[in-house]
Amino acid sequence: MDETTAKIKQFIVDEFMPDVSVDELDSDFDLLTGGVVDSLGLLQVVAWLETEFDVGVDDSQLGPESFRTVDAIKTFVDEARGTANAG
């Protein structure tokens, strides 16, 4: 598991599922359908991403699809960092 994925999983588990171990959370588990992250939870995730990975989150990017799974969040982070580096 790469470092970014590990950090994201650790955050999700700590914040939303403290009774679950990080290993049990699959990268492709649907966090929204599973009710782990709701619309308020999304704001928490975004705020954390901004400080942890120093990425700016554009309002227009703030669709729930980008945060549906750990994989999706990682992709979002990678892309946001790529954009930042290029710019």
Binding site: E24, L25, G35, V36, D38
Partner: protein
């Protein structure tokens, strides 16, 4: 005019005076002895020159003396209010005043002395203006007056006509084969409508009642011993009793071959309990009964094939008892012909004519025309049911269990049902917690099997296959301790919610 209840009991006492009528604390009390206790209580009531036709109040925990006192009231054909002794004194006082009781009676004394009674000093008759007696339709034929559980405000007084009690006790005796030699366990407190089956049907038809001591009603070992020692044939209780028996027999491996009829009522029995029943009762038939204090038992479902693993996750409420009529009213106020959901309306031959306080009837009792002709006064149960293709009914939940989550109507009972379907879940409560943004958010507390590794992620995966997004609990709490229960053995959701709000306040 049917024969009064007491005459049936007296006939049993004459024909089989030595047969056991009650088992209390391991000791048998014969029909002859119980009849003597009742006669002595009756003599005291007659001697106390109570105003004619006025009801009395009975404040009594379950005991042979209390049963004798009720028999005496039945013999005197005097209406009596039998509220829960657990109620606050002030509430009891209000209820007695509302029923216009001239005297509150309390049984006393060990059986060896006498079954005499004692009038309580503070009679509430000064509050005459509060009295609602007699009920609409007259008080002449009223016998038992029971109360609703009163989850909000003052419990409602439900006067039962003697004829209603008579018809019910005859139905119950024939349905569960209650006659001389039959042993029926009584689990519920004395003031519960369930006693009309356990205690009063049995005494009318010559069987023997094995009384569960209220103080030990959650002691699984005691309950198992009571069933075994007295070779109980008929068992009626809330699901909690079955759970207690399952837990205690898991350790010692025993079962209860004497039980022929096991009835669950009052709450939805979890599938995890249902599947264990055939092991617990190898010779048993199993039933779910739907009813309430106002109508008494209304619908019955007999489980088939439990031993072969045919365990329904959603227990059908069953078929109407003989003579019972039902209607399903949709949210739009129309009566449902085919499949769909709506509130269940019930009329039974065992029902009250209405609450003692007639002002309360408007919301609950309503007259609807019959297809043939005439009209019938139905009780609006507040329960939402679904009618399926095959005509069977299942419970969707209480109308008042519906909450709005982000503007969407959600039944917390549907959510509980989905969680309960997980094999590692023993019991669950879902409550709606006020939330500034969402209006309400759902919180689930569940108790898992002791050796289970169930966690919130596993449960969310389980629920995602069964529930809509809006039905998914925001927070899930998994515990290993039993959830708090009400005095009736149901999960105390109000207490669950109150504890949760306490924690939230403490943290906030």
């Amino acid at each position: 005019m049917t024969e009064p209840f007491f005459d049936h009991f007296a006939a049993q006492a004459n024909s089989q005076p030595d047969a056991p009528a009650l088992i209390w604390e391991g000791e048998a009390i014969s029909y002859g002895e119980l009849a003597e206790m009742a006669a002595s209580a009756h003599a005291e009531i007659e001697a106390s020159s109570l105003p004619e036709d006025s009801p009395v109040g009975i404040r009594a925990r379950k005991s042979p003396e209390a049963i004798a006192l009720i028999l005496a009231c039945l013999q005197a054909q005097r209406p009596f209010l039998l509220p829960s002794v657990e109620l606050a004194p002030e509430t009891l006082g209000k209820l007695f005043a509302q029923a216009g009781v001239s005297r509150v009676l309390e049984p006393h004394g060990p059986r060896s002395e006498s079954a005499s009674l004692r009038a309580i000093e503070e009679t509430p008759s000064e509050d005459d203006e509060l009295s609602q007696w007699p009920p609409a339709g007259g008080g002449e034929d009223i016998s038992f007056m029971l109360t609703t559980s009163g989850s909000t405000g003052l419990p409602k007084v439900v006067p039962l006509p003697a004829g209603a009690v008579d018809r019910f006790t005859d139905w119950a005796a024939s349905q569960f084969d209650i006659r001389p030699g039959t042993v029926v366990a009584n689990y519920a407190p004395l003031n519960f409508d369930l006693c009309l089956l356990d205690i009063w049907t049995t005494l009318k038809h010559g069987g023997c009642v094995a009384l569960v001591d209220q103080d030990r009603a959650t002691n699984g070992g005691y309950l198992a011993d009571l069933i075994t020692a007295n070779e109980v044939n008929v068992l009626q209780a809330v699901p909690m009793l079955y759970r207690l028996l399952i837990d205690v027999t898991r350790e010692d491996g025993r079962n209860f071959p004497s039980v022929k009829h096991a009835i669950t009522t009052g709450d939805k029995i979890p599938a995890t309990s249902l599947e264990a029943l055939p092991v617990l009762f190898p010779n048993g038939r199993f039933y779910n009964i739907y009813g309430c204090t106002e109508t008494n038992d209304s619908l019955i479902h007999e489980f088939q094939g439990l031993a072969d693993g045919q365990v329904p996750t959603n227990v059908p409420v069953g078929q109407p008892l003989p003579g019972v009529r039902t209607l399903i009213r949709t949210e739009a106020g129309e009566f449902l012909d085919g499949t769909g959901t709506g509130e269940l309306l019930v009329w039974t031959p065992f029902q009250t004519r209405g609450y003692l306080n007639a002002a309360l009837n408007a919301d609950r009792f309503a007259t609807h025309p019959e297809a043939g002709n005439g009209e019938t006064t139905y009780y609006h149960s507040g329960d939402v049911v679904r009618r399926h293709d095959d005509g069977s009914l299942t419970l969707e939940g209480r109308a008042d269990f519906y909450v709005k989550v982000r503007g969407v109507r959600v039944s917390t009972q549907v959510v509980e049902q989905a969680i309960q379907e997980h094999p590692d879940v023993i019991e669950v409560a879902v409550v709606a917690v006020p939330d500034e943004l969402a209006g309400k958010r759902l919180h689930a507390v569940l108790r898992r099997e002791p050796d289970s590794k169930l966690n919130s992620l596993v449960l969310r995966k389980h629920c995602a296959e069964r529930l809509a997004r809006t039905e998914m609990p925001s927070t899930i709490e998994i515990v290993t301790e039993p959830l708090p229960k009400t005095s009736t053995g149901k999960i105390d959701r109000k207490l669950v919610l109150a504890r949760l709000e306490e924690v939230t306040h403490a943290n906030g």
